[in-house]
Symmetry: C2
Subunit: 332 residues, 2 copies
């Protein structure tokens, strides 16, 4: 790297000359293949937030392009999925083929990713099946309402409604709230809302590469710009569409800025070193720890937002989540 031209000015601005950053050699061959494939896909390109029709077209196109992945997830997961309405909210209930008697009293409330505007539907079904197989318990995957027709706070309201319903059938100490990316936003924000409403807290929260800061103020939005093969850069247009004029720094919109000293469940956080949301995960971990909340941080080498795809490293994530959940299931 010594051939790279670099200087730092008196304000701490690091000025790099042109340079090439190669794939890490410190990850599996499958992870390297996953990065190459992800880098080859273009960065997301969004319409102006005033053009709802253009957004609907964009969203439909993206969701259609993702269907084969969701189909594959549904085929691979040893679980069944049934779709139901809970208080008017569409919920996909995943049940593992091998549901042990001791695990019947447990439930995961799962929130899918997709920048708070994409996916849902078939992908939310796929997440129900995948997480049910991973956790060995019933999973309630919320097909929450989304923009442009249903911006904030529709998704949070849907999540809280489903959680209220679960409280009628499960002890709170046997419920975990989980989500990846935008789902990590909703998992954390809904947990703040649940606490503020005076409802009993779940046993645990699982935040996978979470979009907990819609102001995108973390350092990794800059340092991992385009090093992240999947997300490549931030999502300011989708964030504005979701917030619908509300303050992006509101803790129900950017839960990183919540007051965790008022109580928060034990939390699992995951990210990658090449993840645009690395700072999100790291800062959320610090915020929770400063408030005395039990929280675990797990970071994977060279991993982009959402993982490599089909690499051995990806398979470690659910193992760590189960390890974490085993410590917290059944909390009184």
């Amino acid at each position: 790297m010594s051939q790279v031209k670099v200087s730092v000015d008196a304000h701490g601005n690091v000025q790099f000359g042109a340079r090439i950053i190669a794939l890490p050699s410190s990850i599996s061959a499958e992870a390297r293949e996953g990065l190459i494939a992800a880098y080859a896909r273009p960065a997301a390109d969004y319409p102006p937030i005033t053009d709802k029709a253009a957004w609907k077209t964009k969203i439909a196109q993206f969701n259609a392009s993702f269907e084969p992945i969701a189909d594959m997830m549904l085929q691979m997961a040893p679980a069944t999925v049934a779709t139901t309405l809970i208080d008017g909210v569409t919920v996909h209930v995943g049940t593992p083929h091998d549901l042990k008697a001791t695990h019947r009293q447990r439930a995961v409330l799962e929130l899918h990713g997709g920048g708070l505007v994409l996916l849902g539907g078939k992908f939310a079904q796929a997440m129900a099946a995948t997480v049910a197989a991973q956790c060995g318990c019933v999973v309630y995957s919320v097909d929450y309402r989304m923009p442009p027709d249903h911006p904030y706070p529709a998704a949070i309201d849907d999540t809280v409604a489903v959680y209220r319903h679960l409280l009628a059938g499960y002890r709170p100490g046997n419920i975990a709230i989980a989500g990846g990316s935008a789902g990590g936003n909703l998992a954390a924000a809904a947990t703040l809302k649940i606490r503020d409403l005076g409802l009993p807290l779940p046993a645990a929260v699982v935040l996978k590469t979470p979009e907990v800061d819609l102001t995108e103020s973390g350092d990794s939005f800059t340092t991992n710009f385009w090093l992240d093969a999947v997300l490549k850069c931030g999502l300011p247009a989708a964030n504005a569409l979701y917030a619908d004029g509300h303050d992006l720094a509101d803790p129900y919109i950017s839960p990183l800025f919540g007051d965790f000293s008022q109580g928060f469940p034990p939390t699992f956080l995951q990210a990658g070193t090449r993840d645009v949301f690395l700072s999100n995960a790291v800062r959320m971990h610090r915020a929770l720890r400063r408030a005395g909340v039990e929280a675990e941080l797990h970071v994977w080498e060279g991993m982009p937002h959402g993982g490599f795809g089909m690499a051995p490293e990806d398979e470690e994530i659910p193992l760590e989540i189960n390890c974490f959940l085993e410590k917290h299931w059944g909390r009184a």
Copy 2:
């Protein structure tokens, strides 16, 4: 960042045009000041490894330049330091002014940083005082032998000798082995050696921004090149001087490559997102977890190798370490 020219080739090489990366806005004002001051210092510049005299001059100069910092650490820490010889090894014993009766049976074996070639002496004394004050127990800070006169395995041998001595006065479950940077290398490598010798394992290991991979194969050696205000880049010359012709990938030289399935104590790992050793910490955490070892990862936003200096974020590190140690002191 959208003005940055970026493209990715078919092999996953990310090609960046010239760009400026500003200080993170997501850290404290004191942290920002710390980064600016650190960026203003030049990167280390080392002699050829064959020129021992030049190394000795370089080391003496660096150590002298660090004396004021060590003096300040000694003044600030509410602890006394006494220097003694243990089996021929110089050890600085730090005792906190406020040594609680319940903490008298505990000992920390501390290994100072400095790239395996620098510091020791006054700085090793300062670490004895600082860590004694932080942990509230007696600290044995090993002034291990270093190159050019004493390359590998002298430092490991010294560490193991002091640990053997501690076993005569303390239960292994009341001993922690800790170190930062090069000290993190020695802490992990000596623990592998202790295990392989059949000695009882310590209660816990603390690895602060650890130099566990002297082959420097991690992604952050590239991605955080010069974003890390303190270390700026790797230390290949010092690593070669230390290894003295031995294989850099030997687990006693690069403990990241150890076999942890044969047993390793619960381990605390710390790094920063702008740390050249971020990959070291992340990969070591994964290696330990894959082997089923209890291990905690703590990463601070925007932090370089060794911390910001005097920022509030730096003060969180010993608090987390104590929190970790409290779980493991007294292990049977």
